[in-house]
Symmetry: C2
DNA sequence: AGGAACCATTCACATAGGTTTCCTCTTTTG
DNA sequence: CAAAAGAGGAAACCTATGTGAATGGTTCCT
């Protein structure tokens, strides 16, 4: 399938506009990127550790994760990705994958050749800066995760992650009123936060009892945003979103 | 002081050449960057969380750290920086600091105006790609740290960090034969690895007893490289260095 | 609709790593 | 060069989180 689908790139544009200003010409240039759209099953690898991909993957629908595998079956989830994200943008200048990328849920993705993206960055230096910025925000999120894993308690980590994901979903129009889908199992949460699923379960129970959140069949409601951000030390600056957040 | 110092930029060039190829013209362009060299005391902030800097900081001598402060005096060190590093390169496209940068030891740094760097990236798109790559490697290191903090034991984390720092120092000519300076206290190690200094001390004792390392008055010798990399699951791919490593 | 596979939940028990405290050895600095 | 500050080291004790195992509830195939 080609870029004829008028909406495929809408998600990417919405995402980029959440972190930078795009001119009409730049929006057009993005719309004209050649893409190949593909539907994927849940829990399917897209690129693997060690691969040398020649295209980037844009998430259109569903969630994806990046992860590393360690000895003895240990797994670390490095990031969650939602529609509008390009989880392997770093591939443009880092030629060997140092981790894997997979779908979490059933998903639709679009593949964009590196070649076309590099050409775009040459023709539109401002867009190059915006894509660069996107990878820098990715890094800023890793820094925040390092901070969580290093110095925050289990409870703070979970609360912090929920705040982050809510704001990211809201920025691309996939959440509002402190409600969003939370398409991750407790096992996935544990692999992302460096905990066990048993402990995730304990802490979720506590967060529910304190009436900070409601979480049922993949639907999260943050019942007390201010208290949740306070207890988890959450400050959205690191997301570097364009519009100031409540 | 201006770029008249013929050696100030040598460190940056050596660093960039450890991750990419530079043409003679590009080397010249870098040499011509205007810089202001400054000597700093140990443990001195260079840029603070929330600042909006207009220049980047290149480390010439000594070590630096990036860190975040949390409530109740908690601190998380996000990265260690050695000569040749530009710890706040992300400032080029991320205008508000989401963490602080400070010296660890007495240090010499060079400040380069964002303006000059942005101009350089416009005139030399290949150099833009190389600086972008540098920030992507920075992110790759964060991913590895997330993995360490999430799924590696205290012993594995320390061993992994030593391997990483050794290779980075070696890449810019500041280490060889599995020996290097390790200009960090046990407290700083603990704040970087999400542990306490007491536990760092316990684990170092163990690593010494197992004759994997020697660490005395800031001098580290890795006595058994292969075993150390094996026990810590260390794979240097994530450093994306140009030359293959032993 | 029925089963297989996955997920959430809970319990009893185990441990890696944290806390507090104290002492000694270096390093810095006046 | 001596005092002060900082860093390494270590013991006793504590706790947040891990382990393993069992049960019932969901979701997804066929």
């Amino acid at each position: 399938m080609f870029s004829s689908d008028p909406n495929a790139m809408g998600m990417l544009i919405r995402k980029l506009e959440s972190i930078a200003f795009l001119s009409e010409e730049e929006r057009q240039a993005i719309q004209n990127l050649p893409i190949r759209v593909q539907a994927l099953r849940a829990r399917q690898d897209i690129v693997r550790d060690g691969d040398r991909p020649s295209q980037c993957c844009l998430v259109l629908e569903g969630w994806a994760v990046r992860y590393k595998l360690l000895s003895e079956g240990r797994r670390q989830i490095l990031s969650f990705h939602i529609p509008g994200d390009i989880p392997d943008l770093q591939g443009l200048h880092l030629h060997t994958m140092d981790h894997s990328l997979a779908t979490l849920t059933k998903a639709t993705v679009a593949f964009i050749p590196h070649e076309s993206l590099l050409d775009l960055t040459t023709r539109y230096p401002t867009l190059a800066g915006i894509f660069w910025r996107e990878t820098l925000i990715d890094a800023a999120i890793f820094r925040e995760w390092v901070t969580s894993m290093g110095r925050r308690s289990a409870c703070e980590r979970i609360a912090h992650l929920f705040c982050e994901l809510y704001l990211r979903l809201e920025a691309v129009g996939l959440a509002s009123e402190h409600r969003c889908e939370m398409l991750v199992t407790q096992i996935e949460l544990s692999d992302a936060l460096g905990l066990t699923s048993v402990h995730i379960n304990r802490v979720l129970k506590d967060l529910r009892q304190r009436e900070l959140i409601t979480l049922k069949s993949r639907n999260l409601t943050i019942e007390a945003w201010n208290e949740l951000t306070r207890t988890s030390d959450f400050d959205p600056t690191y997301l570097h979103q364009r519009r100031p957040v409540a």
